[in-house]
Symmetry: D2
Subunit: 267 residues, 4 copies
Amino acid sequence: MRFIGVPVSAIRVTIWNEFVHERSTPAVAKIYPQGIHEAIRAFLSTDSEISVTTATLDEPEHGLTVERLANTDVLLWWGHAKHDEVSDEVVARVHARVNTGMGIVVLHSGHYSKIFKRLMGTTCAFRWREAGERERVWIVNPAHEIAAGLAESFVIPQSEMYGEPFTIPEPDEVVFISWFEGGDVLRSGCCWTRGAGRVFYFSPGHELYPIYHQPEVLRVIRNAVHWARPRGATANVPRNVPIAEAAETIAGQGLQLHDSTGNLLSK
Amino acid sequence: MRFIGVPVSAIRVTIWNEFVHERSTPAVAKIYPQGIHEAIRAFLSTDSEISVTTATLDEPEHGLTVERLANTDVLLWWGHAKHDEVSDEVVARVHARVNTGMGIVVLHSGHYSKIFKRLMGTTCAFRWREAGERERVWIVNPAHEIAAGLAESFVIPQSEMYGEPFTIPEPDEVVFISWFEGGDVLRSGCCWTRGAGRVFYFSPGHELYPIYHQPEVLRVIRNAVHWARPRGATANVPRNVPIAEAAETIAGQGLQLHDSTGNLLSK
Amino acid sequence: MRFIGVPVSAIRVTIWNEFVHERSTPAVAKIYPQGIHEAIRAFLSTDSEISVTTATLDEPEHGLTVERLANTDVLLWWGHAKHDEVSDEVVARVHARVNTGMGIVVLHSGHYSKIFKRLMGTTCAFRWREAGERERVWIVNPAHEIAAGLAESFVIPQSEMYGEPFTIPEPDEVVFISWFEGGDVLRSGCCWTRGAGRVFYFSPGHELYPIYHQPEVLRVIRNAVHWARPRGATANVPRNVPIAEAAETIAGQGLQLHDSTGNLLSK
Amino acid sequence: MRFIGVPVSAIRVTIWNEFVHERSTPAVAKIYPQGIHEAIRAFLSTDSEISVTTATLDEPEHGLTVERLANTDVLLWWGHAKHDEVSDEVVARVHARVNTGMGIVVLHSGHYSKIFKRLMGTTCAFRWREAGERERVWIVNPAHEIAAGLAESFVIPQSEMYGEPFTIPEPDEVVFISWFEGGDVLRSGCCWTRGAGRVFYFSPGHELYPIYHQPEVLRVIRNAVHWARPRGATANVPRNVPIAEAAETIAGQGLQLHDSTGNLLSK
């Protein structure tokens, strides 16, 4: 096997964090003194193929300006207590950007964020319990890029239980399924595509436990960033195709409700 | 083969129509003097397993009250010029009802309705042309219930072209693909599931041509109603499962951010 | 809600069982004195919409003659020790029949049968353990027909562990995921379509435990029979379409390697 | 945007060609004097990330020895007249290798090869016509890696018609849909996963027309090679997990049919 050098542009990642619990709850602050986003940033920064910035709820426009999103290849999303305070305008902007190719990795309680629900079209609900119980994450699809470098399963010693039924659309691919000490299961790593953008949901990450300091969890997030990077072009639609520009030569027949540029003549 | 009698409850269908073009454009009124919804109703009423009512944009709450939706098994949706005038509240209500099991059949220009975009999570856009050209609808999956009773393909003599790329999530099942005289193709009959509800999109149906008088098209709609009827139960989520009610006996460990009923102790 | 009478033809079910362990192992014989197939038959016979027969390995052609299969709507398949003794000819026959619309419900160790592997195109392998441990089957998709009448989950007190990774193609729909006492999980109820036929795999059913006497398990099988029944037509392919029969008028251009009936002129 | 250097191993491609028509039919020989495989090889060799070899039917073991396959990351497959002469042993070998991670790109009449049918589990049939008619390939999913660098659609001036219904399992992703002059359509570029391996089918490529000299077609094949390269690990199954090695501590209960290494005690 030979090795060759190829130029690759860095994947531009923005980690978005609500950043509330870390400042209001001492037990959380102890684990993530700079916030969950900084713990993840510190790890992703060690990957030379990734360039990473962060954004939080309390910044203007939640830090997610048009320009910032235009320069983001993959967005990470962690939120919990303040989902409702994320402005609808910013959610619409993120949603549109995913559809034009930005990847999004939704973490833990982000399952209930406005953006995830909007991308899924479902309620994204499940059963849950905060008991500090053991979670074992099984790799269902070891050939998937998001499972690269992982063993057959890994354990999160203390985790919040999220359990089925999880009201998501049937995933395009399920990468992980979790087992919980209390008797529950969850599709804990799931992939979808929305427009030109890829979506990955990964459930581990309760703020009261040091889950984002765990190597396997960080590896999954890094893998997901690589998987979710933009791959191709955005569809050039909606678009009216005038008769004169049809692929095959045709003549217009019958009445029309639209003018030659596609605008409704009357409503 | 023997035949047996089984009791079956009728499928309760509500046909929702914007009902604008039929009153503002004489050419449309000529084809659908009572409105598109009435043309479809007349046909569905011949099916003894279906009970059908209609609702239109100008009714209070667009005719889609909480009670009406609670008593609807399958909703049909036709809209075009006035998508923006459908209230967000009613859209949210329909969306929630689909997730609890109501089927929805989205017709033609309904691809750009608020409700369809909300269910899909994408822009639901495509290329289009109003040239009265010939469309041939191919049955890609003849074993599918929605294709029952159809031949290998059928022709719509004059149709509006809707062409790929169509920015929908990869369908669970593609039943029809259309060929257009002008050189285009479209996945014209597509299935998804959202929560407990089934979603079918069927593209033929331009208001300027007598498409909803065509037997094959009406047959597709009737088949889709049968396919989209509710099948099972709604997930009982979100729901906190207290430690004492865990499936396996466990003891709570570590700190908690929520009280025993699942409410956040502080934000 | 009103009720109406409709004629429905009974679903013709054939239960195929290897029928080895029940005759060679006293512990199994005690649980299924007439064989696993008879236990399932006794239950399915209580459903007036189902007519049921059985077939076993030691019958001529394993009981699966051309005529028998032609008159079967849904085939159940239980095998374990003698997968290799099922003739390739019968497997090819069953495979062809599924593709023309017969449903198939593959049970437990049938995951490793020739027919299931042939339908899937993968190795259909997993990790496993025979420890009589507790299995909890979670309903992931309560709206699915196969989950009808079940609670949120049900327990199999003693079960054989089948654990991920399970090398199947991504299912069209996952209905059940199982939790095991020993720390494992499995996608234990999965749906696919192959040609005009539906395929369901359901993992519980170890011969050493009375699993096919358990009401929830029997209910799943009955539901699966209803779900897997034929729905529509078989595609009329392969088929040469002569130029003169093209949907659109075209003239043949250039050279041809085939004659007008589609046969290769030379190889 | 910054660029960085990363080491990448070349993708090892083997192009398999039946290589019959090019030697028996002068009209084909004129277009592909060295064979279809050499035309494709010449193009792929211009990609520094790909290393390419070829294999043909008449070589010992059809050129697909155990060692050759072990050193192949992506296999291309073109066959037509001699599908039946490919040995079952080699087919089983290729099938197993796909399941352990080798990608496979099946071209044109390869839809009817033993290996493609075995991977799909269906009949892989369709309607067809050899009329030299125009085919327009539409990019349904422009964000997909296999569509990279292509315009909205491209035309094959003379093509063999392959038309729906195409009896394949619902693809994981449809990248291309073709329009034919004679009124037909086809899902002409489709993706699946089987085990650890990726499968892509691409329909254009009739041997009588210079289709593999067309830049867009070659670009699709090159993109498909990149897409189909192995991504991760192979599942370590089947495997017995003794009670002592269970993830959670459990005690064996009840009877067992297998010994501690997982072998059946009796059949």
